[in-house]
C-alpha cells in the first residue's frame, strides 16, 4: 500500500476514534480564560485559609493593596469608613479614657493619702535621710509588690522581642536591658557551677535593694520581670504561664528568629498579664475606729449648732433691720457688706433714737454694724421739733396738728416775731395760726396809752410852767409807755394842745402855745425812744376851759421801733 494512502487511512481512523475528544479540547481552549477565573473563585477562599495557616506571606502580599484601598476609600468618602469603624470607636475610646483616668486617680489617691499625715512626715524624713526621692519611698511603703517592667527576649542572642511597662513607669532601652540580662545570666552560668545540671544553674532572680528581677526561661525565649517589693510565688507562676503561651503561639517564629521582632508584638497581652501588683491594706487602729463615730457625732452636732446659730443670726439681723425701718425718724435704704462689716445706709431724724439703742433689743451687736445715715426732718417728730424750736414761754399753749401750728395764751412781742419765723421755716408746717394769741407787750402798752390819753395838765394862772406834781406823774407815765412800746415794738405819738383862759391872756393863744411848748420841751428832755411828739397846737379848744390837753395815740401797729 502506497505511503500516502496508508496515512489517509490512519487519519480516518484517528478521526473516528478521537473526534469527540478533539472537539472537547477545542471547546476547552476557547473557554480557557473564563474557566480559569471561575475555577479560581471556587478555590480562592480555601486557598487563602490554607496559605494563611502556613505562613504570613499572604498577609504581607495583601497588606499594601488593603492599605491603599483604605486610603483611597477614606479620601473618596470618609463617611463610609467612619460608619464602618464607628461601632469599635466608642469602646476603644472608652477603654483608653478609663485607663488614663485609672492611672490619674491612682496618683491622686496616693498623693492625697500621703500628703499630710504623721506617716508622710516620717517618710519625708526617711527620704531626706536616705537621699531617695519621696515618691519612691511612698511607692515602696504602699506597695506589697508591683511588677513594673516585663521583657521578653531571645534566649540565644539576648535580643529583645517585646516588652510591657506598668503605668507611670519610665521605659528602659529594651535592647540594652535585655542584652545585659543575657550577659549577666551567661556570666553567672559560666562562673558559678553549683549544680551539675545546666538548667538548674540558670540565674533565676537578681535582687537589688528594694527591687528584683525575676527570670523564667523557655527553650527559646526568656521572660524577665522587674519587681518592686516582695512578690508572692504566684507571680513566678503567672510569668511561667506567659512564657509557655509565647512558646505555644510563636514557637516557630522563635526558632527562625533573625532579628525581626514584628511577629512578637502579638505576645504583648501575655506580657501585660504579668504586670501584677498588690497594695498594702491600711489597717485602721482600734483607737481610730472607736474615736471615729464619736468624732462624726461631735462634728455633726457642731454642724447643727453652727447652722442654728447662723439661722438665728440671720433672723436677728432681719429683725434688727425691721426694727430700724419701723423706728420713728428712720428711712432705711439698704444694707451692704464692706470689709466684712455690714453698712446700713439711709436717713435719720436727729430726734430719732440712736441706732445702737434700736438694735440692742434685737440681739444684734451694734459694734458689728456701721451706720451711714444722712439727716432729715421726719413728720413723726414735727410737734416735738416745733415745740423745741419755738421754746414757748409760760402761758403759751402750742398745738401741732396736720401741719397747722396753733398758739394760744399771751406772749411778748419779741417771742411772737420769733415764732413767726420759726414756725413757717420748719419743714412740714403748712400754717401758723396765732389768732388766739394775745401780744402781752402790746396789751400793756395799750393799757398805759389809754390811761394817759386825754390827760389834762393844769397850770397856775398866767404861768406856762407845769406844776411839779404833774411833771413827776407825767414823766412816770410816759416812761412806762415808752418801755411798753419798746417791748411791743411800736411807736406812740403824743399830741399836745396848749390852751389858756381868756382872762389870763388877752390872746389866750399865745399863753396856750407857750404852755404846749413847755410840755413839749419837758417831754423832749425825757429822751424817750418810742414816744414821738406828733403834733403841737397852740390854739385852745373852744370848750371854754383853760387847760392844756394831751392826746396820746399809737401810731402804727406795724411800725418798727426806731433804731436804738
Amino acid at each position: 500500500m502506497p505511503r500516502a494512502a496508508a496515512e489517509r487511512e490512519i487519519d480516518e481512523l484517528r478521526r473516528l476514534l478521537l473526534q469527540g475528544e478533539r472537539e472537547r479540547i477545542a471547546a476547552l481552549e476557547e473557554r480557557k480564560l473564563e474557566v480559569s477565573s471561575r475555577d479560581v473563585s471556587d478555590v480562592l477562599p480555601e486557598a487563602v485559609l490554607m496559605r494563611a495557616a502556613d505562613d504570613e506571606q499572604l498577609s504581607r502580599a495583601l497588606a499594601p493593596t488593603i492599605e491603599a484601598g483604605i486610603e483611597t476609600s477614606a479620601r473618596k468618602n470618609p463617611q463610609v469608613l467612619a460608619d464602618a469603624i464607628f461601632p469599635v470607636l466608642g469602646p476603644a475610646i472608652r477603654k483608653a479614657i478609663q485607663a488614663a483616668l485609672a492611672a490619674a486617680v491612682e496618683g491622686v489617691n496616693t498623693a492625697l493619702e500621703n500628703s499630710l499625715s504623721i506617716q508622710s512626715l516620717k517618710w519625708r524624713w526617711e527620704a531626706r535621710r536616705s537621699g531617695r526621692p519621696f515618691s519612691e519611698i511612698v511607692l515602696v511603703k504602699n506597695l506589697v509588690y508591683r511588677v513594673e517592667h516585663v521583657f521578653l527576649f531571645h534566649r540565644e542572642t539576648g535580643l529583645p522581642l517585646a516588652q510591657a511597662v506598668a503605668p507611670a513607669v519610665a521605659t528602659q532601652d529594651a535592647d540594652l536591658v535585655a542584652t545585659m540580662f543575657t550577659a549577666i545570666s551567661n556570666w553567672v552560668r559560666d562562673s558559678i557551677h553549683l549544680v551539675e545540671d545546666e538548667e538548674d544553674s540558670e540565674l533565676q532572680q537578681i535582687t537589688i535593694s528594694g527591687a528584683r528581677v525575676m527570670i523564667v526561661r523557655g527553650p527559646h525565649a526568656v521572660l524577665a520581670g522587674v519587681v518592686r517589693g516582695n512578690p508572692p510565688t504566684s507571680v513566678r507562676l503567672v510569668m511561667q504561664r506567659a512564657i509557655e503561651a509565647v512558646h505555644l503561639e510563636r514557637g516557630e517564629d522563635l526558632v527562625r528568629f533573625d532579628g525581626d521582632d514584628t511577629p512578637f508584638r502579638a505576645t504583648l497581652p501575655h506580657l501585660e498579664s504579668c504586670l501584677q501588683e498588690q497594695r498594702r491594706q491600711r489597717k485602721r487602729s482600734p483607737v481610730f475606729l472607736a474615736v471615729m463615730p464619736v468624732a462624726i457625732v461631735v462634728l455633726a452636732l457642731l454642724g447643727v449648732w453652727w447652722g442654728v446659730q447662723a439661722h438665728r443670726r440671720s433672723q436677728a439681723w432681719d429683725a434688727a433691720l425691721e426694727a430700724l425701718r419701723a423706728a420713728p425718724g428712720y428711712q432705711v435704704f439698704g444694707v451692704r457688706e464692706e470689709d466684712s462689716e455690714r453698712v446700713v445706709s439711709g436717713l435719720r431724724d436727729s430726734f430719732a433714737a440712736a441706732p445702737e439703742d434700736v438694735l440692742l433689743p434685737t440681739g444684734v451687736d451694734p459694734d458689728t454694724v456701721r451706720f451711714d445715715f444722712d439727716t432729715y426732718e421726719s413728720r413723726e417728730f414735727l410737734e416735738r421739733r416745733v415745740r423745741e424750736r419755738l421754746a414757748a414761754p409760760e402761758g403759751v399753749g402750742v398745738d401741732v396738728e396736720d401741719g397747722v401750728v396753733t398758739v394760744t395764751g399771751a406772749a411778748p412781742t419779741a417771742w411772737i416775731d420769733h415764732a413767726d419765723r420759726i414756725a413757717l421755716g420748719t419743714a412740714g408746717v403748712g400754717r401758723f395760726d396765732r389768732s388766739e394769741l394775745v401780744d402781752s407787750d402790746f396789751a400793756r402798752m395799750q393799757g398805759r396809752v389809754e390811761a394817759l390819753d386825754g390827760r389834762v395838765i393844769l397850770f397856775a394862772a398866767g404861768s406856762a410852767a407845769p406844776t411839779v406834781g404833774d411833771r413827776a406823774e407825767l414823766e412816770g407815765r410816759l416812761r412806762d409807755i415808752d418801755e411798753a412800746a419798746s417791748s411791743a415794738r411800736r411807736i406812740v405819738s403824743v399830741t399836745i394842745r396848749g390852751g389858756a383862759r381868756s382872762d389870763e391872756s388877752p390872746d389866750g393863744e399865745g399863753l396856750g402855745a407857750e404852755r404846749a411848748a413847755a410840755v413839749q420841751r419837758f417831754v423832749y428832755d425825757l429822751r424817750l425812744e418810742s414816744v414821738v411828739l406828733q403834733w403841737l397846737s397852740g390854739g385852745g379848744e373852744s370848750t371854754g376851759r383853760f387847760e392844756t390837753r394831751l392826746d396820746v395815740r399809737i401810731l402804727s401797729s406795724v411800725m418798727e421801733a426806731p433804731a436804738r
Partner: protein, 167 residues
C-alpha cells in the same frame, strides 16, 4: 526593626572598647580602661533605607589569663576581630578567636580590623600580608578609634554582610 547581635573580639588593649565608643558616642579617650566581662552598646545604622540595630557585645580582651567566655558568643550574627597594628601577635590572637567564633556560631561573617591607624609609624603589621593568611574571608579594614577613620565603615561592612548572607 531588625536587630542583630555582634561581638567585638580581640587581644587585650587593641582598642575594642574605644572603637565602640567612637562608633556609638563619637568620643575617644586616651585613658585605658580594661573591660571586665562584657560591655553592651547599641548602634542603629541605616542600610539601603532600612534601620538595622546592632547590639554590640564588647567582650573583654583575650590573653593567657582571661579566656573568652564562649557563652557570650552564642547567637552572634557576626563579629569584628580587632588587632593592633603595632603588635603583630594580636593578629594571631584575632585569627584564633575567629576559629573559636566559628566553633560556636558557625560560619558567620567576621571582619578583621587592624586598629591604631594613627600610629602607622610604629606599625609592625602589613595588612597585605595579613590578607594572605589562611582562611581570611575578606580584606582587613584599617581603622583608628582615635581619628574615627574606617570605624563606621567597618561596622557597616559587617552589617551588610550579615544581612546579605541572611544570617
Amino acid at each position: 526593626m531588625i536587630r542583630k547581635k555582634i561581638c567585638l573580639l580581640g587581644a587585650f588593649s587593641v582598642g575594642k572598647t574605644s572603637l565602640v565608643q567612637r562608633l556609638v558616642h563619637s568620643i575617644f579617650s586616651e585613658r585605658y580602661q580594661t573591660t571586665v566581662g562584657v560591655r553592651i552598646e547599641k548602634k542603629t545604622l541605616m542600610l539601603d533605607g532600612n534601620d538595622v540595630s546592632l547590639v554590640i557585645w564588647d567582650l573583654q580582651g583575650e590573653d593567657e589569663f582571661q579566656k573568652l567566655r564562649e557563652s557570650y558568643l552564642r547567637g552572634s550574627s557576626g563579629a569584628l576581630l580587632v588587632a593592633d597594628g603595632t603588635r603583630p601577635h594580636t593578629v594571631d590572637i584575632a585569627i584564633l578567636l575567629r576559629d573559636r567564633l566559628r566553633d560556636v556560631c558557625g560560619n558567620v561573617p567576621a571582619e578583621l580590623l587592624i586598629n591604631k591607624a594613627d600610629l602607622t609609624d610604629e606599625w609592625a603589621v602589613d595588612p597585605r600580608a595579613v590578607a594572605a593568611l589562611d582562611g581570611a574571608d575578606s580584606e582587613p579594614i584599617v581603622t583608628s578609634a582615635k581619628t574615627g577613620a574606617g570605624v563606621e565603615g567597618a561596622f557597616e561592612s559587617l552589617a551588610r554582610r550579615i544581612l546579605g548572607g541572611g544570617a
